[in-house]
Symmetry: C2
Subunit: 368 residues, 2 copies
């Protein structure tokens, strides 16, 4: 095999497939990128068996062939080569030389015979969204998936399509994050759970471009993303997702509208007084026209008043500040509205059209 | 005590004295910043008993007094406050409130009675250099001090003043780095060993300004730096420094001039094939007109030719690539000149005027 690339194309493509290289594995073949130039196009593939990525690479095939090459060392070499033409050539023993100007690396590769290609996906049910919209909806929800595997379903996000709308839900037992986007054209009803890891990795490949689209295909076991020259295939998480609609009530006793930036900055300041691992809540005291935020810890105390618009009852309620911060950070509105019932009931932050809904459970606190 | 600052002044001063706050200590008072507003000026001091920093802070004293306040929490609070006037007020129990707009923090401080002020330094022997020059000379040598305490003297740098020249030397048993700068005006002959930690911390406070000067004062046990509104005092390391002049020979068998960037990039690339903790050398083979750099490791092999100007014998020699990289990175010249004797003798990289001298010991290698 002998192929010639220019460095920038090569790096771009290597960086894309790197996202499907597992950080630890007992199977060395999974740590490899398959470079397939057996036809007239060059394709790079990486596949950790849960998540697989294939991308087409611009380059000149001088001699057809394929190899599987260790992803880590290959990507590091490519990155450090001069900014010029890079030639990759392998002999019959798969010893591969990577040449650029006067620099010449030689490393052992594999035949690629035992490499697992991406599974075949029936392209029936699909939607299309802009790369930017998909990237945003992931960023705005992914922080509230659970990071431990005790409940597998919580480590993924619900992708639910109905009535021409994509609803994405993430929850971890303390909070729920929901975002919706409208879809164009007809789409089937779909309800799948996509692994959080897949969503994290894909959002690192997606561009910020609102004009470039991703086609997303669904089967019973897989989700497939197609965009630019890249295909990403991921297994789905099996099981029934939580009945989220039942958890979100529309009744409230107190409704508060507050400047998002002031609220966020104030909560952010309060976290200074919480030592790592400490579960100290912040206490929010809402009266007419004013929200007082306060915290008392071994390190000291803080309090701050913020002007608000308020309807309904006064309320005092405690929260883990982290959860409020996570939600407020991904809301772009200047003002946010909080809906509260009492100090034991979840707080809901949502916009009028419910394009976003963030539910956060309160925590007990000692008034003082 | 009651003082009003604007945020940017306050942060700047806190960041300066923070450099003398130890990361770990069993004495809580050392973790404090002393805020002294007992006179008409405000001074912040921190002192870990080896290194002490005092800086004058702009602000309005409304009520005189002093406190010692935990540096970590104080600096974090100040950083997160709105960008506005900050008021610090302490009561008779040293409970200190920090107020900015509507945010109010309250933390316990100490009286500052048991705080160690900086030692008194007799200002007799001194030199003056620009902040930029001092910062540069530290950056260009500090990487070759030893990082373990087995040989205390190696953890510091020699500051030697004679004949109107400041010579700074750092060495760690594998290499020696020497830089010289000319001094203006008369100066006494001085020879002291300054702790590497002091130099690292001070170079973080110094500005990049060539017009701003530092006055450096020397006593038998201390070095004092005076610049802007700040005073830094450090203990010196006791003992006799190594006789460096005897280690640097002026004879050579091979003299090579090479483009610095090409040489550095090539060595940098070769390090990809060295696993962490591995002591694999790179091999440099010098013949007329060409320097070949090669490495063979379990990960693969690399070789690269670089055009050179050469005088004298051919030579093949092995190096720890790290040491070459460290030296080449801090040399600003387009071309560098290497002086070599044989594969057992150190390589010297120096300019014609010996404003810099970098000596690097070779390592054994298996030719092949």
């Amino acid at each position: 095999m002998k192929i010639v690339f220019n460095k920038s194309n090569l790096i771009k493509s290597v960086n894309i497939v790197l996202k499907a290289i597992p950080s630890r594995t007992t199977m060395p073949i999974l740590e490899c990128i398959l470079i397939d130039a057996t036809t007239n196009i060059i394709e790079f593939t990486a596949n950790d068996m849960e998540l697989g990525i294939k991308t087409q690479v611009e380059g000149e095939i001088i001699e057809k062939g394929k190899i599987a090459i260790d992803a880590k060392i290959f990507s590091e070499i490519v990155r450090k080569l001069p900014d010029n033409e890079i030639t990759i050539e392998s002999d019959s023993n798969f010893v591969t030389t990577i040449t650029c100007e006067k620099a010449k690396f030689s490393i052992s590769a594999k035949s690629g015979e035992d490499f697992s290609y991406l599974p075949y996906i029936e392209k029936e049910k699909s939607i299309s969204v802009s790369q930017f919209a998909l990237k945003e909806i992931i960023r705005q929800t992914i922080f509230s998936i659970a990071d431990n595997e005790n409940n597998k379903i919580m480590t993924g996000e619900l992708f639910e399509i109905s009535d021409g709308e994509l609803k994405v839900v993430a929850l971890d037992g303390h909070r729920i994050s929901i975002r919706k986007i409208e879809l164009k054209g007809f789409s089937d009803d779909i309800k799948v759970i996509v692994p959080g890891k897949t969503l994290n990795e894909i959002s690192r490949i997606l561009s910020d471009d609102n004009e470039n689209f991703v086609n997303i295909f669904f089967t019973n076991n897989h989700i497939l993303f197609e965009f630019d020259n890249t295909t990403v295939v991921s297994r789905l998480i099996e099981g029934e997702y939580f009945k989220v609609n039942q958890m979100i009530s529309n009744t409230y006793e107190t409704k508060v509208t507050i400047n998002k930036r002031e609220f966020l900055n104030s909560i952010d300041r309060s976290t200074l007084l919480i030592k790592e691992g400490d579960k100290k809540p912040i206490i929010i005291n809402i009266v007419d026209g004013s929200l007082e935020l306060k915290i008392n810890s071994a390190l000291g105390s803080m309090n701050e008043d913020i002007d608000i618009d308020k309807e309904g009852k006064d309320i005092m309620i405690g929260f883990n500040p982290r959860f409020l911060i996570d939600a407020l950070r991904v809301i772009d509105d200047e003002n946010v509205t909080l809906y509260l019932v009492n100090s034991k009931f979840p707080c809901i932050i949502k916009d009028e059209n419910e394009k976003y809904i963030y539910l956060i459970l309160p925590v007990n606190f000692v008034a003082g």
